[in-house]
Every structure is written in C-alpha cells, then in structure tokens.
C-alpha cells in the first residue's frame, strides 16, 4: 500500500515537473477558426496560414524571448461558425490551455463575442479579418478595448473606399444595396457605404435586407430592379453572393455588382463561376501585385497547400508576425508585457502592407486594393484610399 502510494506520488511529481519544464520552453498560442459552419473556407485559410507561420518560426529555432529560445505550440479551436462557440473557444483557450495570446476568429459576428472574453480575461486577441469597428471597441464606453487588436482595416474605411470607387471609377450615380441585416459585418459596411455615397453626391435608390441563411432574394431583387440602379453593392459573404448575382441575372438585372473584402475567398469563384466575371471588390491585398515579403509568403503557401493564399491567409500570417515581434520585444512570455509591446510596435512590414497601431487605437493604419474578377481569377485593379 505504502509502495503504491509513493509510486503515485512520484508519478504526480514527475508529471508536474514535465509540465513546468514544458511551460518554460514553449509558448502556447491559440487560434479560433471557422472550420465548420457557413464559411469553412475562411477557417481553413486561417488554420493553414497559422500552422505555416508557426512552422517557420520553429524551424528557425523558435522565438528569442529574453535570453532563451522558445518554441511555439499552436492550439486550434473550431468555432463551428457560431457566436456562442466562439466565446466558449476563447474561454477554453485562455483558462484551460493557458495560451499566451489568441489569433481569430475572423468574421466579425464571431470575433466580437470572442473579443469580449479576451478583454475580460486580459489576454491579447488579434483578429485577422474582422473589419467591424465594434470588435476593438468597448460596447459600453465606446473606447478602444485594451487587449483586442486586428490585422486589417475597418469598415468605415472600406465603405468610404467603395463609395468613392462606385462614383468615380464606375460613374454610377444611383446605387442599390442588398445586405444581411442579422450580421454585424454586412450591416455595418452597408450603412457606412450609404452615408459616404450620399455625402459624395450619389443616390441610394434601394436599401434592402435579408437575414442569414436566406436563399431566396427574389422579392428584394425585384424591388431593386424596379429602382433601376447603376450599380448594386453586395457586402455579403462569399457563399451568398453567387446566389444573389445568379438570381438577379435571372430576373433580368443588368447593372454591375461591387463587393467588399468578404468576397475575397477562392470559394467565391468555385461557387459563382462565370456569373461574376467583370465585377469589382475591395480587399486587403492582391496576390498578383505583391511586395517582395508577400511574394515569398505566396510561393511558400502555394507549395504547402496547393492553392493561392486568400486575404484571410495573408492577414492571419501577418497577425502571427505581429504577435511574434511583440513577444520577442516584450522579452518574456507574459500576457501584460506582450500587450504593451504590441500596442507600441514600430511599423510592421507585413504581407498585406505596412501597418502600425496608433497610440489610442487597436486598428492598424493601412490601405486597401480593388480587385476585379477576370476569367475566373482575382486580378489587381487599383490601390484605394478614401
């Protein structure tokens, strides 16, 4: 009996020792990705890019933290495309897995609930792709959250860019908007587009809504057709846009469509095909017009996964770049120190361009690009600033 007890005690001590040793040598980082649900392409890109970033750092010996080299360990959680599971995943990563920081989720409607948990648990969260301003703002005080950052531009910026593009490049004086009123991202950008477009002298002739999971848009599109717009803005996710465009064409609508960065998945081309040819959307970077840093990333990614990285992949990679830099400059694997280092990081040259966090903001300053869909590919069209 005594022998058994001492054996048990011994094994407990050993396992404790192992964990303590493990914590000393590796840094755990969490990823929350939309691996299942309505936008699995987004989650997969995020996971792929995260794994690639971590692999590169580990292959180079790990991160230089203070005096020692530390390897990075990745913990990936699926949020199943649900808001509640995003919050639960953040909670699990922070309390159970004790990660140093979190990257993701990507869509604003998942990033916002997860960011609330990260903020209250005082853990850095960088969302690669969530462009809704609310993600980094405190809901009650409307001041920036302390621990939540993003690697992309925000919707007011993007909405402004698109409004100007529609008026100046497409010469469209009358615009219609169809958007998902139940989704934070779609709703936010639609409203910003409307405000900017009207301010610049355009006229919104139809401002129509639907709710997530709708497949029939015939009533709204018939209404839009009746309003005779010069351009139709669809700030919706890649799985819905093809349906909307196809139904519009079937109803005899001939006006061109424009979109926002939610179009920027290769899945859009698979699902939409030739129906989308010639249309424009704003996004974070253009794979065919990239800086040298980006060229290497694109080549490596294509080699590893056999497909061109979309903007989620590029932004996730940049989010990890930001995180690695701030962990190294913090000099210790401590949540507070990493946060402080990230907030004051000098200009970071990423795949999606240069970015820097301003003193009182968690949103980096960077510019957008407009892409055109041409023969089943995304082609660089122009750089854009509002």
């Amino acid at each position: 009996m005594r022998k058994a007890l001492s054996l048990l005690l011994f094994s407990v001590l050993v396992s404790l020792g192992v964990t303590a040793w493990g914590a000393g040598k590796t840094i755990k980082l969490g990823v929350i990705a939309e691996l299942t649900g309505d936008m699995p392409a987004v989650g997969t890109s995020c996971k792929n890019a995260a794994e690639m970033a971590v692999k590169e750092v580990n292959a180079a010996g790990g991160l230089q933290v203070g005096k020692e080299k530390m390897k990075v360990e990745l913990v990936v959680e699926d949020n199943a495309g649900k808001a509640d599971q995003s919050a639960a995943a953040a909670q699990k990563l922070i309390t159970q897995d004790a990660v140093l920081a979190i990257v993701g989720p990507n869509a604003s409607r998942y990033a916002i609930p997860a960011s609330e948990i990260a903020e209250s648990e005082k853990t850095v969260l960088i969302t690669p792709w969530s462009t809704n301003p609310k993600t980094t703002l405190d809901a009650t005080t409307n001041k920036p959250k302390k621990y939540v950052f993003r690697a992309c531009f925000i919707d007011p910026f993007q909405g402004g860019v698109l409004a100007k593009f529609a008026l100046e490049n497409l010469k469209a004086k009358k615009a219609a908007v169809l958007y998902d009123v139940a989704s934070d991202y779609n709703k936010g950008i639609a409203e910003v587009f409307k405000a900017n477009y009207e301010k610049l002298g355009g006229k919104i002739v139809a401002f129509e809504t639907y709710t997530t999971n709708d497949k029939d848009f015939s009533a709204q599109l018939t209404k839009i057709k009746d309003a005779k717009p010069d351009v139709i803005f669809l700030p919706n996710y890649y799985s819905e846009v093809p349906l909307q465009v196809q139904q519009a064409k079937r109803l005899g609508i001939t006006a061109p469509f424009i979109g926002s960065d939610s179009w920027g998945s290769n899945e859009l081309l698979t699902l939409g095909g030739a129906d989308l040819n010639g249309y424009y959307f704003s996004t974070h970077y253009a794979a065919d017009n990239a800086a040298p840093v980006a060229k290497k990333f694109i080549a490596d990614y294509e080699k590893a996964y056999g497909t061109k990285p979309d903007d989620v992949a590029a932004l996730t990679y940049d989010a990890f770049g930001l995180l690695f830099d701030s962990i190294q400059s913090a000099g210790k694997a401590d949540r507070e120190a990493v946060r402080a280092a990230l907030a004051t990081l000098p200009t970071y040259k990423g795949v999606t361009g240069d970015m820097k966090f301003q003193a009182d903001s968690r949103d980096p300053i960077k510019s957008a690009v407009i892409l055109q869909i041409k023969d089943g590919k995304f082609a660089y069209y122009t750089n854009a600033n509002p």
Partner: protein, 295 residues
C-alpha cells in the same frame, strides 16, 4: 403594361416559386402527422439530404435533370423509410415526446453526418438550360416554370393517390383509427412505410428543385426551410394535405409580398404576425377541423 402591374406580377411569380417548394416539404410533415400524430422534425434535413443526392447525381454521376430528380426522390424516400424503421417504430407506443426528441436527434445526426463529409458549401451545376423570357417587362425563367409546374403536378398526383386509390384509402383509414383498422387486414407497418416514403420522396424532389434554383447547398440549409414548411402545414391545418399546400402558398406569398411593399427588414416580423393572427382566428388551421378527417 404599367410598371405597377409588372412589378406586382413579378412578385407573384416569385411567391409561386417559393410557395411551391414550401408546399412539397410541408406535405411530408402533414402526412406523417396525419398517420402517426407525430411531428417529424427530421423532415427538413431529409430535404437537405435530397439536395445532396441531387449534387451527387449531377456532379459525380454526371446525370441530366430527369434521372437526377428521380435518384434524389428515391434516395430520400429510402432514407425516410429507414429513419422510420430504425428510429420511430421502436417508439411507436412510447410517449409522444420521446418520438419528437428522437426526430430532433435524427435531424441533428443528418446535419452533422453531412457536415463531416462535406464541410464546404457545394455548387450545383445548371442541369437545365436557363432561358429567361421577357413578357412585357415581367421576367419569367424556364426554371421558375419547371419548379412551379412540377410541384403542382406532384401535388395533384399525391392528392389523387390519397383520395382515389386503395393505398390512399388505407392511409386515410389508419389515420382515422390505428387499433381496429389493422384488424380488418390493412397492413399497418407497410402503410406507415409508404407514407414516409412518399413524404420523404417529395422532400427529395423539393431538395432537387431548391438546389437548382438556389445552387449553393450546405448541411444546414434544411433547418430554416424545414421550419417554414412546418409552419405552412400548421397554418393549412396539420394532417390535411390540401391544407398544407394552401398554407405553403400563403406563407410564400406573405413573405414575398411583405418584402415587396414594406421595408425588407420587417419581413419576418410582419409575416409571422399575420400568421399568428390567422392561427388565433382558426386555431386548427385553414382546413383543419378538430378530430375529423386526416390524411
């Protein structure tokens, strides 16, 4: 034609298309309820599986429209019968709540089973050549015509089967009384299987047409459509076949027309308020009568 009339006609066509699909699914709810007084909550997911059968037939087997439709209907029908045999039959004498919980479970199983195999939304290739006719400003697509006509055809066929054939008579008799009708030589299990096969087969047809009209399909597509079809069945008077069809066209019409003449954000709020008022006035649905003819 004046612009107002063109607009109104276009929206009516939209409503007919949506209503046809709701109707095909609503029939499955109403038939199962008629026979077993049980709400088969897995039915919306059988519809989803029908759409995936359509995807398999069209993409992997490269079949044209007619065989694809047939395969989806047969596949869904077999699935419906299997679900009944494995999941509902053992619970036929258990409390009704157990059967409903089982149905919910089967639905979640089907969703997640499909999700495990196909996590990405799938694109359905255009199986039919798209022609859009312009009739004095009203756009009428060949697909719309096929959906509406095929649905109406299937509904009339079903109505004929239920009201004019021996099998239909047996179904109506069993829905009337499950204890004594089998004693007169009506094979209870067979008729229940036939009911599930027909209901699920119609859902398979609905899945195929839905997939052609809205060619991006995913494992969760059956949830919302299933609810709406269920609501249609209740509005029409659950257990009553003609009622389910009327209810479906009412729901489709209300949804489209509310969007057409109000801001589209009010759609669900106005549409479902109207339906609740209707249920308040006629608690058993439009054609439903308390404890009378079912299926």
């Amino acid at each position: 034609m004046s612009e107002g009339i063109v607009y109104w006609l276009q929206q009516t066509l939209n409503a007919l298309q949506l209503g046809s699909i709701y109707a095909l699914i609503a029939l499955g709810y109403t038939m199962v309820y008629g026979i077993l007084t049980m709400i088969n909550f897995a039915h919306g997911d059988v519809f989803m599986i029908g759409a995936f059968f359509c995807f398999l037939a069209a993409v992997f087997l490269g079949l044209p429209f007619a065989p694809t439709l047939l395969l989806a209907m047969v596949g869904a029908a077999l699935l419906g019968v299997t679900i009944e045999r494995l999941a509902y039959k053992p619970l036929r004498h258990a409390p009704r709540v157990s059967a409903i919980i089982t149905a919910l479970g089967v639905g979640i199983f089907l969703e997640n089973f499909t999700l495990a195999l196909a996590p990405y939304p799938k694109n359905i290739p255009p199986l039919l050549e798209h022609v859009t006719w312009n009739l004095g400003g009203v756009s009428l697509s060949s697909l719309q015509v096929i959906i509406i006509l095929l649905s109406l055809g299937l509904m009339f066929l079903l109505d004929y089967v239920v009201h004019r054939t021996p099998v239909g008579m047996a179904m109506r008799a069993i829905s009337w009384d499950k204890t004594f009708v089998p004693l007169m030589g009506v094979p209870l299990d067979l008729i229940i299987s036939v009911t599930f096969a027909i209901g699920a087969g119609l859902a398979g047809a609905a899945g195929t047409m839905y997939a052609l009209a809205y060619p991006v399909i995913d494992p969760y597509m059956g949830i919302m459509v299933g609810w709406k079809a269920f609501i249609s069945a209740v509005v029409g008077g659950i257990g009553n076949i003609r009622g389910a069809m009327i209810g479906a066209f009412i729901l489709g019409g209300v949804e489209i027309m509310v969007t057409a003449f109000f801001p589209s954000t009010y759609r669900d709020f106005v549409a479902f308020t109207l339906l609740m008022l209707l249920i308040l006035v006629r608690p058993y649905g439009i054609l439903g009568k308390p404890r009378t003819q079912k299926v």
